[in-house]
């Protein structure tokens, strides 16, 4: 068994040459290719993940929007209901007061009407009384009374002249 320094160095150089050749001719290009491929796959996976995330986000936004919208709708409904109630109450009150006002007006009008009616009735009565008086007067005066009345009146006129 012999150890020969020259041979050791020779084998080192031999190994070094193989190392250099393999490194530059095989490892570097192949590793670069593999790295590129890995990166592309990773990019694709990342893109897919991004898309998924985007989708999730969109879904979340959708859900949020929906819930917000429904909450808003409910709130609006409540508000409208409340307002409507208030309005109704107000309207009711208004109409009530209107009704009372109308009632008052109506009753006053009624009173007025009654008064008028009464008045017209009174005048009717007066008329009737006059007509009756006229009739009674007409039938109660005879020729003698006529003459007497006319004589009296002539005297009266002459006096007034």
């Amino acid at each position: 068994m012999e150890i020969n320094l020259a041979q050791i160095i020779f084998q080192m150089i031999n190994f070094g040459m193989v190392l250099a050749a393999l490194t530059y001719l095989i490892y570097k290009p192949v590793l670069k290719l593999l790295e590129d491929r890995r990166k592309r796959v990773a990019d694709a996976a990342e893109a897919a993940a991004a898309v998924m995330k985007e989708k999730e986000n969109l879904e979340k936004v959708k859900e949020k929007t929906l819930s917000e919208a429904s909450a808003k709708a409910k709130k609006m409904e409540d508000e409208i209901r409340k307002e409507a109630k208030a309005d109704a109450k107000l309207l009711l009150e208004e109409s009530k007061s209107e009704i009372t006002a109308k009632e008052a007006k109506f009753s006053s009008e009624l009173a007025k009407l009654k008064k008028e009616e009464l008045k017209s009735m009174e005048s009717e009565v007066k008329k009737a009384a006059l007509t009756i008086a006229e009739k009674v007067l007409g039938s109660s005066i005879d020729a003698k009374k006529h003459q007497k009345l006319i004589d009296d009146q002539i005297n009266e006129i002459i006096e007034s002249l």
Partner: protein, 71 residues
């Protein structure tokens, strides 16, 4: 000339007419008087004299009207 319209419920007698004409002539002595007699039953009783638009109504109708106005 002065128009005098005299309306009465029944026709006036001549005496009555003379008495009325003479007294009126006395009042309007300087004027010529024209007398027009009418019978109006609606006066009910009495007579009305109108001299140149001035009415002296002494009829019962006028009295009734006065009553109606009062009540």
């Amino acid at each position: 000339m002065l128009q005098i319209d005299i309306a009465s419920a029944i026709a006036l007698s001549d005496l009555q007419k003379k008495k009325l004409e003479s007294s009126l002539q006395k009042k309007y002595s300087n004027k010529e008087l024209v007398f027009d007699y009418q019978v109006k039953e609606e006066l009910i009783g009495g007579l009305s004299v109108s001299v140149a638009g001035e009415l002296h109504d002494a009829s019962l109708r006028a009295r009734l009207n006065q009553l109606a106005n009062k009540i």
